[in-house]
């Protein structure tokens, strides 16, 4: 693969057609490529690069997990014949059967609570919560039971449960369908919390989350479900809980996760046109947070803007601002600034563009940081 493609892949910024410039080529990405690999058993099976939406990349990741371990099962509302309201599980029940892909009763606490029992029995349940705002009926089971079960059992059992949660705004939907509740879970000991920003990361991170023996809350940025990007089916890149620099720059570091990465990359493009160089860090993991690449970046740029769709107060962004201030105080030329939604419930969708951080809101903070 060319260096250019690699960079674009990491950034998740590659256009669908551009994926074909990779050395794998368009044919290798399709079924023909897979078949060719199967015909040559002595050669390592190269699956190549496919162009997928994030939704379909997660489908592909779930399929790999279901194939790889018969204790993996999917459970959620409408995930069977319908394939989930976002079609992420489309075709999986037909392929793996009703005992591997379960349409559950419509009860979130029941989904998580029974998954705990299934995990005690040796299963690796992957749960779908239909929308961000509907996770709260399960909040008790997640925070008082799931997150503590391994501790309570003194490590004798583990809780390899993944809870997939489509989250975030930009889809113009009704109340409880556009929220960003990740801080509640990142605040809870015993859980791991991650969020991919690109189809490539989504494909690999869902498989790594399922392989984890700890419970993982897997936040899927639903506004990024449909744009396509390249997925390297052979190489994962960095481990699940790593953050990484996805665009190098020199003047200001901007950090975010999930759908915010797309906003930050747009902001970086605009800033570049105005002569300001932004370094973009994709957090990827919200618990634990991998501060290494972020602190290195801040040591280079001396300025940090944290951006998120969630409410700003007592948020993941607050935690990053505090930690960077503690650990990189002498490297900072300006206070760490936060760009968030407002501390109000998500407004009627007609107001969402004014509510959610935009590239311009990010750049306004960048300007303030540079003014110090």
């Amino acid at each position: 693969m060319s260096t250019d493609t690699e960079e674009q892949l990491r950034a998740g910024a590659i256009e669908p057609d551009a994926a074909n410039v990779g050395e794998a080529g368009p044919d290798a990405a399709g079924p023909a490529g897979v078949a060719a690999a199967a015909d040559a058993p002595d050669a390592p099976a190269v699956k190549g690069v496919q162009t997928l939406s994030m939704a379909k990349a997660i489908t592909a990741g779930l399929r790999e997990a279901l194939r790889g371990d018969d204790r993996v099962l999917l459970m959620g509302e409408d995930i069977g014949p319908l394939g989930g309201v976002f079609r992420v599980t489309e075709g999986l029940q037909a392929e793996f059967g009703e005992h591997r892909v379960l349409d559950s009763p419509l009860a979130e606490s029941g989904i998580v609570g029974t998954a705990i029992g299934l995990a005690m029995r040796g299963y690796r349940p992957v749960l779908e919560i239909q929308f961000d705002g509907f996770i709260f009926p399960a909040f008790d089971q997640i925070t008082t039971q799931l997150s503590r079960m391994t501790l309570r059992h003194e490590g004798r059992i583990s809780m390899p449960i993944v809870i997939r949660v489509p989250y975030g705004g930009h889809i113009g939907s009704i109340e409880h369908h556009q929220e960003s509740p990740e801080a509640y879970f990142a605040h809870t000991p015993g859980l791991r919390v991650v969020s991919p920003s690109s189809p490539h990361d989504a494909y690999w991170m869902i498989q790594e989350a399922i392989a984890s023996n700890d419970p993982v809350i897997f936040f899927e940025p639903k506004s990024r479900y449909w744009p396509k990007g390249p997925v390297d089916l052979d190489h994962s890149g960095v481990p699940l809980h790593s953050s990484r620099v996805i665009r190098s720059g020199t003047d200001v570091t901007v950090v975010g996760h999930g759908a915010m990465i797309s906003t930050l990359l747009q902001a970086a493009d605009i800033a570049a046109g105005e002569g300001t160089s932004l370094e973009v860090v994709d957090l990827r993991s919200l618990s634990p947070i991998d501060y290494g690449p972020l602190l290195e970046s801040v040591h280079r740029t001396g300025r940090l803007v944290v951006a998120q769709e969630a409410y700003g107060s007592v948020s993941v962004g607050s935690e990053i601002a505090a930690t960077v201030a503690e650990r990189a105080f002498y490297a900072l030329e300006a206070p760490v600034l936060r760009v968030s939604s407002f501390d109000t419930p998500f407004p009627p969708a007609a107001l969402e563009t004014e509510y959610l951080p935009s590239p311009d809101r990010v750049l306004e903070a960048v300007d303030r940081a540079l003014a110090y």
Partner: protein
């Protein structure tokens, strides 16, 4: 449903007549074991309450008065069955092989769990958030079904799940969701509700306007109401329901009518909300004295009762001694096992706490 009247006569109610052969098939040893179990349970309760009063336990959760409900149902389970308790089923745990000192360790603040279910007859950990365990047990039972570990016809391997909760917990959403999932997936499971009449200070009439024994019917499963102070019917009804569950015939709901003779916990004062008359009514229905009367009528000897009392006193005195010897866990326990896999914050914070404690003059322990 009742087999044994409060006066200690074996006189089945019409619906319970079918259970008689199960009782007749029990030998003297099994029948006497019920008595021994109930006596131990009551003696442990006294010990626990005393230790709490002496400042040795943060709390004691008594099961005084509920011995028959617990002993009969727990003795009905087979070794391969799984039991998910609430937090009051001490004797059920002991029947499965749990050392009661593990319960004392939990209530003394030495552990958060305290035992390994695999080593104590699949008796799972206590759950303090009401009705949470109903869903865990249902998920476990779903797993048994998916694994094909019930309904094969092999009584040695077919397994079922028995879950305990109380009248108060039936009001929790999780308790209803568990019944929905159990019914949908036809789990091999018995929901055993000990209706002890009081959820701390609130009577069962505030939890449910209709008898709890009807609760399972609305969810599409057999639903029974038994005299929970009758160890024989508790055993027989649980045994039949568990056998049906193991046979792949799905879940059963059982309400066992009993009474919490003591306080909810040692932090409670029941004289504020219930009358002496009510307590007196239930004292006349005591599970142990009625069973003793019946055993005596069958010819059990004075020596047997003396030996049962002695055994109970020995168990209680032994657990008291060992509970007082329990030591506080070391500070690494704060961080160990929060996660199954390595976690940077656990490493960092454990190291920080060590350095902090060791930074004092002479170092910390």
């Amino acid at each position: 449903m009742q087999l044994l009247t409060p006066q200690g006569e074996l006189r089945p109610s019409p619906e319970a007549e079918a259970y008689l052969p199960l009782i007749e098939a029990l030998g003297d040893d099994a029948l006497e074991q019920f008595y021994r179990d109930m006596t131990v349970s009551r003696r442990i309760d006294v010990t626990g309450a005393n230790l709490q009063r002496q400042g040795q336990l943060a709390l004691w959760v008594p099961s005084l008065g509920q011995e028959a409900a617990q002993v009969g149902s727990a003795r009905a389970a087979r070794p391969q069955d799984h039991i998910f308790p609430s937090y009051r089923e001490h004797i059920a745990g002991m029947i499965r092989g749990l050392d009661p000192v593990r319960i004392f360790a939990l209530l003394r603040g030495a552990t958060l769990g305290g035992w390994n279910p695999d080593e104590v007859g699949n008796f799972h950990l206590y759950t303090l958030v009401l009705a949470s365990q109903t869903l865990h047990s249902t998920g476990y039972a779903m797993g048994i079904r998916f694994d094909g570990a019930c309904g094969t016809g092999d009584p040695e391997t077919d397994a079922a799940v028995l879950v305990y909760y109380g009248d108060g917990a039936t009001s929790q959403g999780d308790a209803s969701e568990a019944l929905v999932f159990a019914s949908s997936y036809q789990t091999p499971q018995v929901f055993f509700v000990q209706n002890n009449q009081w959820a701390i200070s609130v009577p069962v009439s505030r939890q449910s306007r209709s008898p709890l024994g009807l609760r399972g019917g609305g969810f599409g499963m057999p639903s029974l109401r038994i005299d929970g102070n009758d160890v024989l019917v508790s055993y027989a009804a649980s045994r039949v329901a568990l056998e049906e569950a193991r046979a792949g015939e799905g879940p059963t709901f059982i309400e066992a009518l009993t009474y919490r003779m003591g306080a909810h916990t040692t932090a409670d004062d029941p004289t504020k909300y219930r009358t002496d008359d009510e307590v007196g009514y239930w004292a006349e229905r005591d599970p142990i004295s009625r069973y003793r009367t019946w055993l005596e009528s069958r010819g059990a000897s004075a020596e047997f009762f003396a030996s049962a009392d002695e055994e109970a006193a020995d168990v209680a005195s032994d657990v008291r001694k060992r509970a007082l010897e329990l030591t506080a866990p070391t500070r690494e326990k704060i961080f160990e096992h929060v996660y199954s896999e390595a976690h940077p914050l656990m490493v960092e914070q454990a190291a920080w706490l060590d350095a902090y404690e060791n930074g004092f003059e002479g170092g910390a322990a």
